[in-house]
């Protein structure tokens, strides 16, 4: 019986493993291999191997784009982090029915494609858009604010775009806390602010950090929002990748960009996970 059962699970999983090997592993390896060949006017020279494409990334032109990408991503993640706790704490106090309704309101826009949301933000933020019209009508400003085709527009549109990646894990962590903890702290004389800083925050920090990490890499690799709200003059890494791969058609360089972006995001995820686990361990929690 035992020997007959061993291969069965692999048999069930085999079709999916095959599809993933062809459609996921192979393409990534293909980009990696291409990135190690030089590009020539005749196409990729597969007889030569080189690190030249990666060396070109040290050029200040690429450095500037990387710094802008990180700056925007960091701003979005920082603001998201400030906003996520109040929302998660508020949600946890609602009745279960109300909670699932509000969560649905947060999730449904995420399931609408990004391009439509980018259109919405354009209509809101452009010079004669909804926001400027309201501000002018209310005499809050005398000339329209420049809210898009700059980094401000990208940050404004990315915050709600990737909010749920922090909100969902944080909400799960906060609503998973035993209410007795807060009561106990309260009866022992802790004020609400102390309950938050000394009880709730330490216990939910690992989930919060994990959410922020995902949020950050989503910001780093966003494409449609930076393209449509930032414009070509505020180029970020994903727009550069598009240009190199689809306009200049330099695939070895494009492959190098893909591999670098992937390595960067994996490194951030790994470091974030380690950090979150350390936080959990430091508080005597299980990771």
């Amino acid at each position: 019986m035992q020997d007959r059962r061993i291969p069965a699970p692999w048999l069930f999983a085999a079709p999916l493993i095959l599809v993933m090997a062809i459609g996921f592993v192979w393409p990534l390896l293909q980009a990696l291999v291409n990135s190690l060949h030089p590009n020539t006017p005749q196409g990729i020279d597969v007889t030569q191997w080189t690190f030249g494409n990666y060396k070109r990334l040290a050029d200040p032109f690429y450095g500037e784009i990387l710094v802008r990408t990180l700056r925007i991503s960091f701003a979005v993640t920082a603001i998201t982090g400030l906003l996520a706790y109040p929302v998660a704490l508020y949600l946890a106090r609602l009745s279960p029915r109300a909670q699932s309704l509000v969560i649905l309101a947060y999730i449904s826009p995420w399931l609408v494609n990004t391009v439509v949301k980018a259109l919405g933000w354009t209509l809101l933020l452009r010079t004669n858009g909804v926001v400027n019209t309201i501000l002018l009508q209310l005499d809050i400003v005398s000339t329209p604010l420049k809210l898009m085709l700059n980094e401000t527009g990208v940050v404004i549109a990315l915050i709600p775009g990737h909010f749920i990646f922090v909100l969902l894990p944080l909400w799960a962590a906060v609503s998973g806390l035993d209410p007795a903890l807060s009561w106990a702290a309260g009866t022992l004389g802790a004020r609400p602010s102390a309950v938050f800083w000394r009880v709730i925050l330490p216990l939910t920090l690992p989930a919060f950090v994990a959410g922020l990490v995902i949020n950050f890499i989503m910001n780093m690799t966003a494409f449609a929002i930076p393209m449509l709200l930032g414009g070509a003059r505020n180029m970020v890494a994903s727009m550069l990748a598009y240009q190199v791969n689809l306009i200049t058609l330099d695939w070895p360089m494009g492959g190098a960009l893909a591999v670098t972006l992937l390595a960067l995001t994996l490194a951030i995820v790994w470091a974030g996970q380690k950090f979150a686990m350390q936080l959990a361990a430091g508080r005597g929690l299980r990771p």
């Binding site: 293909q30 508020y90 494609n113 549109a157």
Partner: protein, 257 residues
Amino acid sequence: MIRAVNLIMLIVVLAPVVVVMWMSLTPTAMFVLPITQFSFRWYREALSYPGFVDAFFLSAELALFAALITLALCFLAVYGIVRYRPAGAAVLRSFFTAPLLVSAVVFGIAMLQFVNRIGLYNQFSGLLLAHVVLVVPFAIRSLEATVRAVPEELEWASMILGRSRANTLLRITLPLCARGLVTAFLFCFLLSFSEVTTTLFMTGPSLQTLPVRIYTYMSDRIDPTVAAVSALVVLVSLAVVVFLNLLGGFRRLDSQG
């Protein structure tokens, strides 16, 4: 205070979607604010623009096939993992959910270079392969909960009574998973239907899905026609979301994600 933050955040999250729907009803060719009269003329305009109509059918077809194929592949794999608990279960699960760690841009570049290499550039099958890989992690997570919820005793009973495992899987397990399968199908369909970035990186001009077509249209100009077609996309997405919620699908996905 925290109530105000929640309210502001809700408004900010919903604003772009609401504005698109609102603006699509403008009677004028420019978005003149405030909009006091409403008209459906831009919907007629959008529905008579072949670029959008063709792209809609391509997107729907792609999402349908991607969801069905993913469901079949993932159901089998999940059944194998859950019922046999093989030694490599954790490795398999990480492998199947690995696409979550690869951003859409990186995967799009890899796919572009791959489909060109094997001669599938600008082909439906190339797009289909990419969309299947993109939705596999979500299907795995949602189906794992579904299969786990089926009592193994029912399968034993069926097999003791003489059915083969394959027959049991088909006649006992599959029907018991129906609700979870529909949920996973809708979710996969919606994710594929909404996918922009990877598709944009790997498609040629003659094979554009609806989000990609809207993107290329928008990079050229912004008019009420594109708002109307976007509003229709929102309506399709919301219809699926409401259906998903009725099936209780989100609770399952939240707890895992």
